[in-house]
């Protein structure tokens, strides 16, 4: 069975996640079956009413528990998603994460059976309300976590932001130096090409959405590495992965962002990391236990 690519769309309340999701639905070819996962924290969106306006069929999984806001409820998320995938057999799954949820914890559940046998984390999108980004002081903690986990940050409402954009971009760069930043309005980002990140590395495979043995995996650890050991660790594993990215708390107290694609390793300093080291890998050449052990060996 081909594994199903899974995309997370995060973003704070009112940033434009649902609008972006509507755009995505409109962009995906008619023959493909899309699974959408939503929670019911936003009462305006009961039964995917708003999404149905996109005029495109999709299978909807509504999570039973209000908000995937803490680790306590992730077990239920795993069960529901697992059943949903078995039942609907989608070609693609998109999760509209609650504004309060933590994308890395969600990604972590995809690292393990049963989900790891069916799904891999293909992309992590964060929608940011450019106009109100700086007003978000009070909600900043969650925004920082979501921006940090993102592959692509959509600077939404760019048409209304005027000269604020440059400032917001600089700030996001500080939080996540590797994310791809794109300006949008009404969530109109081009999504389709992003659906098949793995295909970029397999030019001979045009049609299939995934590879059977590809897996996304997450290391979350309070152990600290020296910079030298981090480099060695990444140099060992980067050639075996399509992508490794994340944030690492170093032994000397500094924090860095890392990104490895096609064997290249990049490390950049970031502001103090309020949380443990979190690394995500996408690979078909090693397993989470192997990777985790190696990390612990390097951390000493």
């Amino acid at each position: 069975m081909q594994k199903i690519p899974f995309h997370i769309i995060s973003g704070f309340l009112g940033s434009g996640k649902t609008t972006f999701l509507k755009q995505i639905l409109g962009q995906i070819p008619a023959g493909e079956k899309i699974g959408v996962v939503q929670n019911e924290f936003a009462p305006a969106n009961i039964d995917g009413t708003e999404l149905k306006q996109a005029g495109r069929d999709f299978q909807l999984l509504e999570l039973n528990n209000g908000s995937v806001f803490c680790a306590c409820l992730l077990g239920d998320f795993v069960d529901s998603l697992n059943r949903f995938v078995d039942r609907c057999q989608p070609d693609l799954v998109v999760l509209e994460a609650s504004g309060l949820s933590d994308p890395t914890s969600v990604a972590e559940t995809l690292s393990l059976p049963p989900l790891s046998e069916k799904i891999y984390l293909a992309g992590n999108w964060c929608v940011v309300d450019t106009v109100n980004f700086n007003r978000g002081g009070l909600m900043r903690q969650r925004i920082i976590h979501q921006v940090r986990a993102a592959d692509v940050v959509l600077l939404n409402k760019a048409d209304l932001a005027g000269d604020k954009i440059a400032g917001v971009k600089a700030e996001i760069r500080q939080i996540n130096p590797f994310a791809d930043l794109r300006e949008t309005s009404f969530g109109q980002a081009f999504f389709q090409e992003e659906l098949q990140p793995v295909k970029k590395f397999y030019f001979d495979r045009v049609a299939p959405l995934g590879r059977p043995d590809i897996q996304s995996m997450v290391i979350k650890s309070g152990k600290r590495l020296t910079r030298d050991r981090l480099e060695k660790f990444l140099n060992q594993w980067a050639p075996l992965a399509y992508r490794i990215k994340g944030f690492v708390a170093l032994a000397d107290g500094a924090s860095v962002a890392v990104q490895c694609t096609l064997g290249t390793v990049e490390i950049k300093p970031v502001e103090w990391l309020a949380g443990p080291t979190e690394l995500v890998a996408l690979t078909d050449r090693f397993t989470l236990p192997e990777w985790n052990r190696s990390f612990r060996e390097y951390a000493g």
Binding site: L13, E40, F41, P43, N64, N65, G66, F69, C70, A71, C72, L73, L74, G75, D76, V78, D79, G99, L100, D102, S105, E108, T109, S111, L112, P113, R135, G137, L138, M139, R140, Q141, R142, H145, K220, G222, A249, A274, G275, P276, R293, E297
Partner: protein, 539 residues
């Protein structure tokens, strides 16, 4: 030392003999007694049974009565959606749907599910006088979020006065709930405020600190203990949480334990956490649970630390995983074993042991931590050592101390999971318990008999006499029969008088003799392709 006493010591930052252990059993108690979450949370009798079962299985030092952050919200008019496998979820927020704060009144002890919780508290108190009983209340910020919905985040900033009023009300709710729970017999009041992970320290100091501090002061006046539970990415707030003066801070896996330890101890406050709920306790193996617990115990240390899951145990958490943690807490040997396996588990190679134990002797392997430093291991080795001479050289024994890498490989190859274990000819025979002498002798004797049986069977042989006709083989046949009789062997003799069959043996002229010796290679198993190939090569 008894649970409550141990927790008191930890909270007063004294060195403890071991870290106290508090499994947060909420709806998981329902799983233990076989009912769904809703039925469980509505019955004092079932909750009492669930907690009792958890105490029996997990040998805790403290235990919560219930873990339900919707209890107060329900009484205050939030609608709940019930689930079979989770605590209920709040799905409506009265203060953003037309209700006024003035319309709400403080919960009375007979309202909603409070009587169920108080009755359970009294039952558990009476049944387990030496355990620390935790009463949980919804933290004021989380309760305010239930009442206001996510509007609260905009209001923090657009209408701070309104939020302050709601916070004040939620604090008075918390004070009332604490009072009821303390009166019913709780030792520790835990203020559970997960939603504070969403805000930064400045906001926390403005909108949470003054309110939470009031609750902790009240608990202190009542001479009870308090804990501040938070989950999620709340690292930024640990210091300001300490400034609210709880007796303890409990966190989940999103915050490194060593970080919390450093801040909390500097502030003179005990701390707890942070076993991984989903990826380890719910979805992992017993080994994963032990490794995670070991890492928490090592980081937390023996001063001011309480071992606990990061949050409410998921309902269907396998009890064996929580038991694995309990075993590690109570047994220093298990900690050493987990440590040895952890440090040696990295370069693990598995041997092919399918043919293990086929030699003439019976091999007894004892997998130990190290019989010199681990008493149960020592007794197990001695038990074997003592009986081995009775078998006069037929039984050979050896110890595999897993502090060495080869022994870990050996252990994993034989699929041994517990220490100490006795294997007889590669099969697990006795796990953890030292067998009485007679049982050990019986087990070894049984294996000797088995091998003898195999050997007897393997002696089965056949002689074929090949010739052009029966007549041409007659004389040779008689000679062979006589030889068999004189030797007392059990051998079948067959005469094959068929030129075609003669040719298939490569015989061109009769009479000829072919001796066939059958050997039993395996019994009751399906040997792998590789093993079968090895046998074939020997033919």
């Amino acid at each position: 030392m008894k649970g409550l006493e141990l927790i008191r010591e930890a909270i007063s930052l004294k060195e403890t003999e071991r870290a106290p252990w508090v499994p947060f059993v909420g709806v998981h108690g329902g799983f233990l007694v076989g009912v769904d979450a809703e039925t469980y949370l509505k019955s004092a009798e079932l909750m009492t049974r669930g907690i009792s079962k958890a105490v029996e299985l997990y040998q805790p030092d403290g235990i919560p009565v219930v873990f339900d952050l919707q209890l107060e919200a329900e009484i205050l008019g939030c609608q709940l959606r019930w689930s079979d496998t989770n605590p209920p979820a709040v799905i409506s927020h009265p203060l953003s749907e037309g209700k006024k704060l003035g319309d709400l009144s403080l919960p009375k002890p007979e309202e909603g599910r409070i009587p169920v919780v108080l009755q359970t508290t009294r039952n558990v108190r009476a049944k387990f006088p030496e355990l620390a009983i935790y009463g949980l209340i919804t933290g004021p910020f989380t309760l305010a979020l239930h009442l206001l919905g996510t509007d609260i985040f905009m209001k923090l900033y657009e209408a701070p006065g309104e939020v302050a009023e709601v916070m004040d009300f939620c604090t008075r709710v918390g004070l009332k709930m604490s009072e009821y729970l303390i009166d019913a017999g709780c030792d520790v009041i835990a203020v559970v405020d997960p939603m504070t992970s969403q805000i930064d320290p400045d906001t926390f100091e403005q909108f949470v600190s003054p309110y939470a501090t009031r609750i902790f002061s009240f608990i202190r006046e009542r001479e009870k203990l308090s804990s501040f539970f938070v989950c999620g990415h709340a690292q930024q707030n640990i210091e300001v949480m300490c400034h609210c003066r709880p007796d303890n801070i409990s966190i989940d896996e999103n915050i490194p334990l060593d970080f919390v330890k450093e801040v909390a101890l500097r502030e003179g406050i005990s701390f707890g956490g942070n076993l991984k709920l989903t990826v380890v306790l719910l979805m992992g193996s017993e080994d994963d649970a032990r490794q995670d617990a070991l890492s928490c115990l090592d980081l937390g240390g023996n001063r001011g630390f309480i071992l606990a899951p990061g949050c409410d145990l998921p309902m269907e958490t396998p009890p064996s995983n929580v038991q694995a943690v309990a075993g590690l807490v109570h047994d220093p040997y298990q900690r050493e074993i987990a440590r040895a396996l952890d440090s040696n588990g990295n370069r693990l190679e598995i041997f092919n042991m399918k043919d293990y134990g086929q030699s003439d002797k019976v091999i007894v392997d004892i997998i130990t931590l190290d019989s010199e430093s681990c008493a149960p291991c020592q007794y197990m080795v001695e038990a074997v050592k003592k009986i081995a001479p009775h078998f006069e050289g037929v039984v050979e024994w050896r110890e595999h101390a897993i502090k060495r890498m080869e022994a870990v490989t050996f252990m994993s190859s034989l699929m041994v999971k517990n220490i100490p274990t006795i294997c007889i000819d590669g099969k697990i025979a006795f796990v953890s318990k030292i067998p009485p002498q007679n049982l050990l002798i019986q087990a070894i004797q049984k294996r000797i008999n088995e091998k003898l049986r195999l050997k007897i069977k393997s002696k089965h042989s056949e002689i074929l006499i090949l010739g052009e006709s029966q007549e041409s083989c007659r004389e040779l046949n008689e000679r062979v029969q006589r030889a068999i009789t004189e030797l007392g062997k059990e051998i079948t003799v067959s005469v094959v008088a068929d030129p075609a069959q003669m040719a298939s043996f490569g015989v061109t002229k009769g009479p000829a003799v072919v001796a066939v010796s059958y050997r039993l290679k395996s019994e009751g198993t399906e040997p792998s392709l590789e093993v079968v190939k090895e046998w074939i090569k020997d033919l």
